[in-house]
Each structure stands twice: as C-alpha cells, then as structure tokens.
C-alpha cells in the first residue's frame, strides 16, 4: 500500500478497528511492534513503532513509564491533547489526524500513540537508528583545515551546517520527494544573499519530480538538470560542511538529502571544477600553483594524445628530428594504426583507474604490478603498442587525475580530440577544443552563465578562478550569484 492510497484517511476512534487497519498495512512485515497499554481510569492506548528504528531507552523512559505511572483523571474530552501537555516526558510530540502523516513519522523512527475514543494520534520523536558518524570524506581530503564530513542523516547534516552558520538568515525548507521512499530533503540558503533565480528554479523543479524512490542526491540532480547531454556538471556535490557553508555565503543554494552524505550546491560555475578545498586553507601563493597546474593538466589531458597523433600522422615536419626518428622506429612492427593504439591505451588506462577504485585493498599491490609491468613493459616489448604512445597516454591520464571533478568531460574530450586529431591533424584538435569551448560557454547552471567570470572581466570577477586572491582582496561575491555584492568593506590605508 502506498501513501497516495492513504491520502485523506483518518482514524475511526475505535482502538481495535484502528489497530487492525494499521496491522493490515504492515501485513507480512515483521518489524512492526504494538504495545497496548491500559491507562488510568479505563482509558486504553496503543504504541506502534518499528523495531530497530527507535531508541528503546527514550521510548521506555519518555513514553511508556510516564503513561504507566500516571494515575490521575484525564480532564477534558481530548485525550491526546491531555497526554501531550501533562503526561509525556518527550521533547518533541506532534498531533496527527491523517493516517499517511502518522505513518510517515513512524516509518522515520517516531513512535505512534493511538487512543481509544480519539481520532487524533500522537507521534513522539524516539528516533534511534544508527548512523555512520562524522568522518573525513575519503574523496575530499585536505592537508590543513576541518576534517568533518556529512553523514547519511539529514538532521545531523543540518546540525553541522548550523554550527558553521549560526545565523537566523540560514533557512532550510523541507521538501519530500519519492513516492515510496518519501525522502526528506532540505533546501538551504541564506535569505539575504541567495540567488533568487536559482532558488525558484530548484523549488519548481523539485515539485515536478514524480519518481518511485530517491536514494541519493544524484537522482534529483539528473531529474532536474536542464543540461541533459552535457559532459560538464552544472551542479556541485560535496560531503564537507565547510564547503557548503562557503558556497551559501556566496549566494548559492544547497540541497541536503536524507540517506546520503553528498550535498548538492547550485548554481555551479566552471571555475569551481578547478577549486580544491585545500586552496582556502593554505597560503594563496601555494594555492595559485595548485590552481594553475589544474588548468594546465586539464588542457593537457584532453589535448595531448590528440596533438601527438596529429603530429605523427599529418604534421611530421613539426616534430624534432631525433624524436621523429625514435617515434618512427618504435612504431615499426606495431600491427595497429596509431589511432587504434591510442584508443586501446586510453581504454586500458580507464579500466585500470576504475578497477583501482573498486578493487579490495589487498589486491591493490597485484593490480599495480599488472598495470606497470605487464601492460606497460611487456606490451611495448611485444610490439603491441609503441613506447611514445604509451607515455603520452599515461601522462595525459595522470594529468586528468588532477581534476577529478571533470573526469567525464576529460574522457569524452580526449576521445574527440584523438579522433579529430588523427583524421584532421592540428586543425581537428583546434576544432575539437573550440567545439568544447562553445559548449562550455553556452551552458547555464540554474539561471547563471556557466562561465560567468568572463561576463565582466575585472580583477574582482577573476580573483577566484586561475588565481586565489588573498582574503583581504576578496571584497565582493561573484556578481552572477548574489545581488548582495560586498562581503567585506574596503579598509582605508592608515
């Protein structure tokens, strides 16, 4: 039975009837627990909860004990109201009249109390499911700076965010998505800074979602993303509360989804792909080196194999003579054409990379031997591939690892430049890069230009792109994100 089948239904007021109805909903599900209690003066009630979802101590001390030990008269007709105000020790108690709302709370770890002769039930916060706990995200490690990471529980994540931004300006709007999972999501933003266009777009798109279940933020991301065929992501993801807080301070909107530690932040601009969490926790000069290297590595990882192919097939005159002789010698006896060789090596590199992510740690050592010795050395000696091509593809692969956020774009971009470079030489490589640039320039992320930094060329618009300006120079927020421009006042020189 689904929630929409229970829409509008209410309790009858007869305890036995209501209990039977609720048990029928949970037919064949053995985790429902029912505790009937005879209260004072003949009043009956029943507690319903799901085993494993509740904190038994809280349930016993805050709900069962006070009800059992109460022996005065219940005044007034409304039993549930009396129990809420005078009997229960719990901090959070809600009155519910609709069955679907009652079930939603119970399925999330609350305890449901139904009374004989009352159509209103109470839901008591007794949540006790275990979480993973706060730990450093494995994909977003920093050398210096906070090491907290989000958890799968949305409420805990909200609490972590509130600690970073203890201001009433921080708003968290609650939305439920997923017909069967009823996933709780929180749209978080700072109301005086937020990009209204992004906020309205996000809210509108969330309302349109009509799917069975949402188990991760990526479900939502793909359902609401307007750039469906783009290699470049237009929504940011992070597991770190400090990053989310920083993005909210720039006028972005964050979406916290229950059940996943990954938080979505929108709008997401192109320059963010090259930002690392470390950049803001280290000296800006050191950060500049890292940023610059990421841009260079991104460019190299996409173009290096394509340019090499273009040079050895169509523009042999551009290669230094000694290198050309070495490349030609190394290719003698290789049965494949250069393009097939390149594509094969790219494929093998991607296989090794993916395998490295998923293989158990105990096998990691064996994998590195296979990758290095067998595929590297043996294939060159057996003349299956040539050494220069192997080096070029490996170098571009390693360069691509510097910019993990763009791994999709790098992979497809590399394939495109390899194919175009092989058939059309350097012209093909330039055409491929230009096409990618055109796509990037035309993208929008929740109403903001993806490359908004180029809309208004000035130091303030470029201060956090290739360079990371020192904090005393970061006077304004990104112009395309927030109308509230200034983040710090200029200090007059003494």
């Amino acid at each position: 039975m689904n929630f929409h089948e229970l829409l509008g239904k209410k309790l009858s007021g007869n305890l036995d009837t209501d209990l039977n109805f609720l048990k029928e909903i949970f037919e064949n599900d053995d985790i429902l627990r029912v505790r009937r209690i005879n209260m004072t003066k003949g009043q009956e009630c029943a507690l319903l909860f799901l085993d494993g979802m509740v904190n038994n101590n809280v349930l016993n001390e805050s709900v069962v004990r006070p009800i059992l030990t109460f022996d005065s008269d219940i005044e007034g007709e409304n039993v549930s109201r009396y129990v809420t105000l005078h009997i229960l020790f719990a901090a959070e108690v809600s009155e519910q009249t609709l069955i679907d709302e009652m079930l939603r709370s119970m399925l999330y770890g609350d305890t449901l109390i139904i009374f004989n002769g009352d159509t209103t039930a109470l839901t008591v916060n007794t949540k006790g499911w275990r979480t993973r706990g706060i730990s450093e995200p494995s994909d977003e490690r920093v050398l210096e700076g906070p090491r907290e990471g989000f958890d799968e529980a949305a409420m805990l994540n909200m609490a972590m965010l509130r600690r970073k931004l203890p201001t009433p300006d921080l708003k968290a709007e609650y939305v439920r998505v997923g017909r069967r999972t009823d996933t709780r999501t929180f749209i978080c933003y700072l109301s005086s800074l937020v990009n209204k266009r992004a906020l309205d777009t996000l809210k509108k798109e969330l309302k349109k979602i009509d799917i069975d279940g949402v188990l991760d933020v990526n479900y939502i991301n793909e359902l609401i993303n307007s750039n469906r065929f783009s290699f470049f992501k237009t929504a940011g993801k992070t597991e770190r509360p400090d990053i989310v807080a920083a993005k909210l301070l720039e006028g972005r909107v964050a979406l916290i989804v229950d059940g996943t530690p990954v938080v979505l932040t929108v709008p997401y601009l192109f320059g963010e792909n090259f930002q690392s969490d470390d950049d803001y926790y280290q000296n800006y000069i050191v950060a500049f080196i890292g940023r610059l290297m990421r841009y260079i590595c991104f460019f190299l990882s996409i173009t290096l194999p394509g340019i090499y192919l273009a040079l050895i097939t169509h523009h042999k005159q551009l290669l230094p003579t000694s290198f050309f002789i070495t490349a030609a010698d190394s290719r003698r006896g290789v049965p494949f054409q250069s393009i097939l060789e390149a594509l094969l090596l790219i494929l093998i590199f991607e296989i090794l990379r993916e395998t490295g992510l998923r293989v158990p740690q105990s096998m990691g050592h064996a994998l590195s031997i296979v990758g290095g010795l067998v595929i590297g050395q043996a294939s060159v000696e057996a003349k299956i591939v040539s050494a220069p091509m192997l080096i070029i593809v490996a170098a571009s692969g390693i360069a691509g690892l510097m910019v993990q956020k763009l791994k999709g774009a790098i992979f497809y971009g590399r394939i495109i430049t390899v194919v175009l470079g092989n058939f059309f030489g350097l012209f093909g490589c330039f055409a491929g890069v230009t096409a990618m640039l055109s796509v990037v320039f035309s993208l929008k992320s929740y109403g903001s230009d993806y490359t908004a930094a180029l809309n208004n060329i000035s130091f303030q618009s470029l201060k956090d792109t290739v360079i990371r300006a020192p904090f005393y120079k970061m006077l304004t927020r990104p112009h395309s994100l927030s109308k509230n421009k200034y983040r710090q006042k200029r200090k007059k020189k003494l």
Partner: protein
C-alpha cells in the same frame, strides 16, 4: 523527428567517411626520412643523391637523374615508391660546378615546395655523391652531422638567408670516400 534527424546525419557522416580520402594519411613508419640531398651537375642534366634514414638510424642512398632541377624531386618520389619526408632534410649539397643561375633556380624551386624546410643548410662540395658515400666519423646521418658542423662553425648558410641576401658564398666541403672536411674559406659561385 529529432532522433530521425540525428540518425540521418550520423549515417551520412559514416557513409561519406567510407568513400573519402580521410584515411589516406601516412603513419610515421611508412615514410622515408630524407636527411640530406646532394645535386651534382651531370653531362645531360642533374643527378640527385638522397640520404635516407632507415630503421635504427641506419642510412642508405637513393639516386635519380633528370634534365632539370625541378624534375629531380618528382623523379625521386617515383623511384622511391613510398612517400618521402623532405621536411627533416638537414643539408642540401650542390656540386662546385653550379653557377649562379643554377643556384637561383634551385632556391626558387625549393622555396615553392611547402614541405621543404627553409632552415636547412646549403653547402658546396666537389662531388655530392662522393660525400654522401663517405664513411664519416660518426654513425649520425651526414645531413645532420654537417648541420652540426656548420652550426658550430657559425656559418649561417640557411636556405632563406642565402635567398634573402642573394649571397653567392657558401661553405665548402672537400669529400673523399673516407672523409669529408669543411674548408676554412667560403666557395664563391659565379
């Protein structure tokens, strides 16, 4: 409708790729690398001797004759049968019986070949075929060995320098079967 449009464009591209010259490029190991050319004046025309670099930096020679200078390279291409790579030619040798009009014509012809490097050196020798056949001191191709000698001697006889300055003085190499030697004085072509 959109899917049909994309499908028809893809089919068109695939069909056109199949019957086009897109795959007619040559791989690096499928070309013959020319490191030096030597042009001798013969009784009934000219002889071109080309030094070709093969596998393992070994060198071999290929000779052709023609009535005029501008027919030499086409004849060489025909004789080789495999595409030639002239763009890495280090040195162009001419024999000492070249006159100024021969030199001008040669420069004009080489400049009109897009692939020919304008920065390759020009040098004179008693007999180009003898020089290119000489054993030499190192295993390096003679075109590049002579290029290094000329760079170290700081004689700038690059093709475009000679062409620009209209100079008729060129470095001169004495050649025998065993060795080749750069002379101190420059050779004057009249």
């Amino acid at each position: 409708m959109k899917a049909l449009k994309i499908f028809s464009v893809l089919m068109l591209v695939i069909a056109l790729s199949g019957c086009s010259t897109l795959t007619e490029y040559t791989e690096s190991e499928q070309v013959l690398l020319i490191s030096a050319v030597g042009i001798d004046k013969a009784a009934n025309g000219y002889t071109l001797t080309a030094e070709i670099v093969t596998e393992g930096n070994q060198q071999t020679l290929l000779s052709v004759t023609a009535d005029s200078i501008d027919s030499l390279i086409p004849n060489l291409k025909k004789k080789a049968g495999i595409p030639l790579l002239l763009s890495h030619c280090g040195t162009v040798f001419i024999s000492q019986d070249f006159n100024i009009s021969d030199l001008s014509f040669l420069l004009q012809h080489l400049c009109s070949l897009y692939e020919f490097p304008l920065s390759s050196r020009l040098a004179v020798t008693n007999n180009c075929a003898t020089l290119l056949n000489a054993k030499g001191l190192s295993s390096e191709p003679k075109g590049y060995a002579v290029l290094s000698i000329l760079k170290n001697a700081k004689i700038d006889s690059r093709l475009f320098i000679i062409g620009r300055a209209h100079t008729n003085t060129l470095p001169f190499f004495i050649a025998t079967n065993d060795y080749y030697l750069l002379k101190d004085s420059l050779w004057i072509i009249e």
